[in-house]
């Protein structure tokens, strides 16, 4: 099996941190291209996401895939020249005001990050005004809002209203336990049921092929 196939297979079968580190070192010795390696990793992660969607993989598997991806990239970094990678987009992410849960947000951050997005995590219990200020200041391609509790729903609505009032046309995606597709459609924003869906939505919102990094 070639190195790229090995990398993909390692992620698909969640062979663990040691394996993925070993593959990174082998890739460095063999002079494999960074972009091709990342693409192989992403293909593996896509399969993990599909299996999670189908109920064949579990939340801990998704977390493990995220850990492996981080380890793989970290292990590659010292060995390979990092080319200018076209970012898929800048994402500001946070949990809405009134809600201090961060597991879902962190998982979405990890999955978006390993799929090529630049992540700016502004934390939990974030008021609508703070989301809007950060959008104005940092000009992201996507604003992602996480929410575990129903108490966060009015804050999400207010954030979207404020963005519109100020004429900020950033793409918005929302997700979390109490959020339904109907609610997202009513607000006219993207809806990611879980971390895997969130990646698909983010890709759709940015056109699927990556966007120029925001200035």
């Amino acid at each position: 099996m070639g190195i790229l196939e090995e990398v993909k297979d390692c992620f698909i079968n969640l062979r663990g941190v040691d394996e993925v580190r070993g593959l990174a070192e082998r890739a460095a010795r063999e002079g494999a291209g960074f972009s091709e390696l990342l693409e192989a990793m992403k293909e593996g992660l896509d399969v993990v996401g599909d299996r999670y969607d189908k109920g064949e993989y579990f939340l801990s598997d998704l977390i493990m895939a995220g850990i492996m991806a981080t380890e793989f990239v970290d292990a590659l970094r010292p060995h390979l020249p990092i080319p200018t990678i076209k970012s898929k987009g800048k994402v500001i992410i946070g949990t809405i005001e009134g809600d201090i849960h961060d597991i879902g947000k962190n998982l979405v951050s990890t999955m978006l990050s390993v799929n090529g997005f630049d992540i700016i995590d502004i934390g939990v219990d974030v008021p609508p005004e703070k989301f809007v200020k950060n959008v104005e200041k940092l000009k992201p391609d996507i604003l992602a809002i996480s929410c575990l509790l129903t108490v966060g729903l009015p804050g999400i609505r207010r954030t979207v209203d404020l963005l519109r009032m100020k004429g900020l046309n950033v793409k918005v995606m929302i997700g979390g336990r109490p959020i339904t597709r109907d609610f997202a459609e009513e607000l006219g924003v993207g809806y990611g049921r879980d971390a895997v869906q969130a990646v698909k939505v983010a890709l759709e919102l940015t056109g699927g092929k990556g966007v120029k990094p925001s200035e």
Partner: protein
């Protein structure tokens, strides 16, 4: 038939006069709306955090008043901190609880919720488990439950809330470290789970000695909306179902029923909870995660007490008419033959609409009267 008699019949799969109703927890902010006054209390569903005994009594006084006013049948108490315990406050105002988790104050619920952990390395965990792990037998652990039993005087059934070892360790390590160490250092994860199990067994033994506890609810989630958080094989490898069975056996030795709570889609592990862990019942049966209480009733009949399952999300977002229908549906499907405790699928959280909560209770009283008329 008083509340306690009603509950005892129901949990023994006999039809009482009516389906018992309660909530595992009512947030302090909701209690204030029900009572029409501000409460100066501290509370967390996930950990013992009240050091001040006056404040602890004030919490239980208010809880009892609320449960009486609403007409609930079961009171739930929580583990107390030992006498003289000093809770560590971090410079940013967050609290470090006795089991290594860091808690922040949630303004909406007026309660403390876990947001972090003191554990950065395996050595941190080892040091905590070997040197600083709390003692379940420390004097005062049963302060709250004894106080609640004293003011209740046997009118309502009495339950105690304890924490699931897996869920506790998942939170204490944080999910990423839990998963990382589950693969690389499984012995430390297993040891932590075992220590929490031993701790809980000590608590249950103490609660059993009190002679006033009717049921134990083990809180902490095993599932998310899609299903179990770990592959079932990992649950087995970490001996989580076996650990739960030890809790159940100790509860049964004390004549106490044992109910496992979990949010999320519990269907894939229900069989394991019944066959391996031998739980008496399950709480939540989360309809937002696709759990159909009628399907569970049909499958498990009188092997499983069903505690639920009006959606906590719907209590905050739907109309009274919709809640009435949802409540009738829960009773129609789960109450025949007893074995059903009507409640929401979680708790009365800070932003629930009170009119919906009252609609759930009123519908429960009206349609839960035996013989059921559907």
């Amino acid at each position: 038939m008083n509340s306690r008699e009603r509950v005892l019949r129901a949990i023994n799969f006999e039809e009482p006069d009516e389906t018992p109703i309660t909530e595992l927890d009512v947030d302090v902010s909701v209690m204030e709306r029900i009572l029409g006054r501000t409460l100066n209390v501290m509370h967390s569903l996930q950990a013992a955090i009240t050091v001040d005994r006056d404040m602890e009594r004030a919490y239980y006084d208010a809880l009892y008043e609320v449960y009486r006013k609403v007409g609930f049948d079961i009171l739930y108490a929580y583990e107390s901190l030992p006498d003289g315990y000093r809770l560590e406050k971090l410079p940013d105002g967050r609290l470090m609880e006795q089991m290594g988790r860091v808690f922040s104050y949630d303004d909406v619920a007026k309660a403390y919720t876990p947001v972090g952990s003191i554990f950065q390395t395996v050595e941190d965990v080892r040091d905590f488990l070997d040197e600083r792990f709390p003692d379940p037998h420390a004097p005062g652990r049963d302060y709250g439950i004894k106080y609640l039993a004293e003011i209740n005087r046997g009118d309502k059934a009495l339950g105690v809330f304890i924490r699931e070892p897996f869920a506790h360790v998942w939170e204490a390590l944080t999910p990423v470290r839990f998963v990382y160490w589950m693969h690389r250092e499984p012995s430390i994860v297993v040891k932590f789970i075992e220590k929490v199990t031993e701790y809980n067994l000590g608590l249950i033994e103490r609660y059993g000695e009190l002679g006033c506890v009717d049921l134990i609810v083990m809180g902490g989630d095993l599932c998310d909306v899609k299903g179990p958080m770990l592959p079932p094989g990992e649950f087995r490898r970490l001996r989580i179902f076996e650990a739960m069975r030890r809790h159940v056996e100790e509860a049964h030795r004390c004549g106490i029923k044992f109910i496992k709570h979990t949010d999320g889609n519990v269907k894939p592990i229900l069989e394991e909870l019944v066959e391996t862990s031998h739980v008496d019942g399950v709480h939540s049966l989360d309809p937002s995660a696709g759990v159909d209480i009628g399907w569970v009733k049909e499958k498990f009949q009188d092997r499983l007490i069903l505690h639920g399952n009006v959606s906590v999300d719907n209590l905050a977002t739907r109309s009274v008419e919709e809640i009435v229908e949802e409540t009738k549906n829960a009773i129609r499907n789960a109450s025949p033959g007893g074995g059903h405790i009507l409640s929401s699928s979680n708790s009365w959280y800070g932003d629930v609409r009170l009119e919906n909560c009252y609609a759930m209770v009123e519908t429960g009283r009206r349609y839960g009267r035996y013989p059921l008329k559907f």
